[in-house]
Symmetry: C2
Subunit: 285 residues, 2 copies
């Protein structure tokens, strides 16, 4: 396994692989890897000849009042974990390498970025789309693997790849959960023991929504009200949003007719947790 | 020579060439080709194994009050001209192919788009950057060749390519001129015979600026005033802008210390003409 810090070196490495006809699989991350990331890598390992991951806490996707500075980092452990799942190359650039002097280009999307986390975190998806466009051009993957926990991010990336005619396949994999149902997240490290029960209100709220859907409920407002009430009943939980959206447009859905997703963002102590579930799909909590 | 209308087919064609180790050279155009375009293609032909051009009047770089509908088109003549200079493939997509339903992704740049044509034509460079990003992903060139007549466009494309880590070389070639000095442009076709003399005020104004520079003048305001007065003395000429900018930032320069460009945009009858000259570089008028 090699660690590459320079953008040009990453690009040359990728181009050399492509010239040899090798298939490149890419798992972009912000590091502090958990079993969710590792499951993406294990899956990715089966999809090509060379598995590349990036570890980069991208500043342009954090708002000024967000947790950029205290976002957890542990590069040595990440390296060990990557080696364990067969990563071939880690791209680990500095901010100066990614956003040098005179930097001024951003990728902006419309509707799919304007609801949910796009409302709560202005500029977030601009930063996500931009850094992914850059990483795709540097790593030159044939396939990139993302988790479905960041559902809107997956929709945004797929939309950008289609719109800008980027020649790669985007794979989305199911959210990996703790045994108690909590979605894996690097930000779970912010949770205090006494906040755990409140943190579980997300996955349990999604389960409640799926049960209502299975029982025939199709009015989004009714389901949202029930789930909001359930989450708000937990002492450390502060709802950011509880929404039901069309999975293509990410616009609020009034009724659950086409494919819809319930998306949650809830602050529990110092952590802002997100979780989601597409109606009618299995939810393993 | 083949003509490709489908985006996916263009991409497959390009990827097959790359797999064979072929070097792809790309000249994007809006068609209605003149000797300026052909000089880019002739130069490009020497730079690789396969010469691809695109002919696409990109709607997203035109403002609502601009000449999108009447922009001149002549695909049959363009094909003949392309064949004559050894073009291997023309990419000729429809608007539906380039901007299908749900399309919503745009590439935005900062400072370098905010002066000159970025002021006169809001959204223009967003459209240019976006369509070039798409075309680069479809044609997969090793090198793309642009004319320097659209100087700001060249700066914008170079900035985008560097910022988004696109793996291609951008080449800028000197403006090709009519024998009387008028810069080649598809929009010259809008000029009436009696407007020709006024149209020459651009190249002659640039010559005046270079003469002042050669004589030691370094105050941008003095040169701008002289050139503006000269152009305004022509009966059909309406100045859009007469500016002197730093070639890296495209910000107005007060003094000609670093590398600076004089950039002109002048309406002559129905035509909006642009021209430019970098101080100290030869100007063949």
């Amino acid at each position: 396994m090699i660690v590459i810090e320079q953008a040009r070196e990453m690009q040359r490495y990728a181009e050399a692989l492509r010239r040899k006809g090798k298939r490149i699989v890419f798992v972009p991350t912000m590091g502090f890897l958990h079993r969710g990331h590792l499951s993406l890598m294990e899956d990715g390992k089966q999809r090509g000849d060379c598995l590349v991951t990036s570890i980069y806490v991208n500043p342009t996707q954090f708002g000024p009042a967000e947790d950029l500075d205290k976002y957890p980092r542990d590069f040595d452990t990440d390296c060990r974990l990557c080696r364990g799942v067969g990563v071939d190359a880690i791209f680990f650039p500095s901010n100066g390498e990614m956003y040098p002097e005179h930097y001024q280009t951003y990728v902006d999307l419309g509707g799919v970025t304007q609801n949910l986390c796009g409302l709560s975190r202005p500029g977030h998806f601009r930063g996500v789309a931009t850094v992914c466009a850059k990483l795709f051009n540097l790593v030159k993957p044939h396939v990139a693997v993302f988790g479905k926990k960041d559902f809107q991010q997956l929709v945004v990336i797929r939309r950008m790849v289609a719109d800008l005619n980027m020649d790669l396949e985007i794979v989305g994999l199911d959210t990996v959960r703790e045994p108690d149902g909590l979605a894996m997240s690097s930000r779970n490290t912010y949770l205090k023991p006494e906040e755990r029960e409140s943190a579980l209100s997300l996955s349990r709220g999604l389960k409640l929504a799926q049960e209502m859907y299975a029982a025939g409920e199709r009015d989004a407002g009714v389901i949202i009200a029930a789930v909001s009430r359930f989450i708000a009943g937990h002492p450390h939980a502060k709802i950011d949003y509880v929404k039901i959206c069309d999975t293509t447009t990410m616009k609020d859905a009034a009724r659950l007719d086409g494919e819809c997703v319930m998306a949650l963002a809830v602050r529990v102590g110092a952590a802002r947790l997100i979780d989601n579930s597409v109606f009618g799909e299995p939810l393993l909590v």
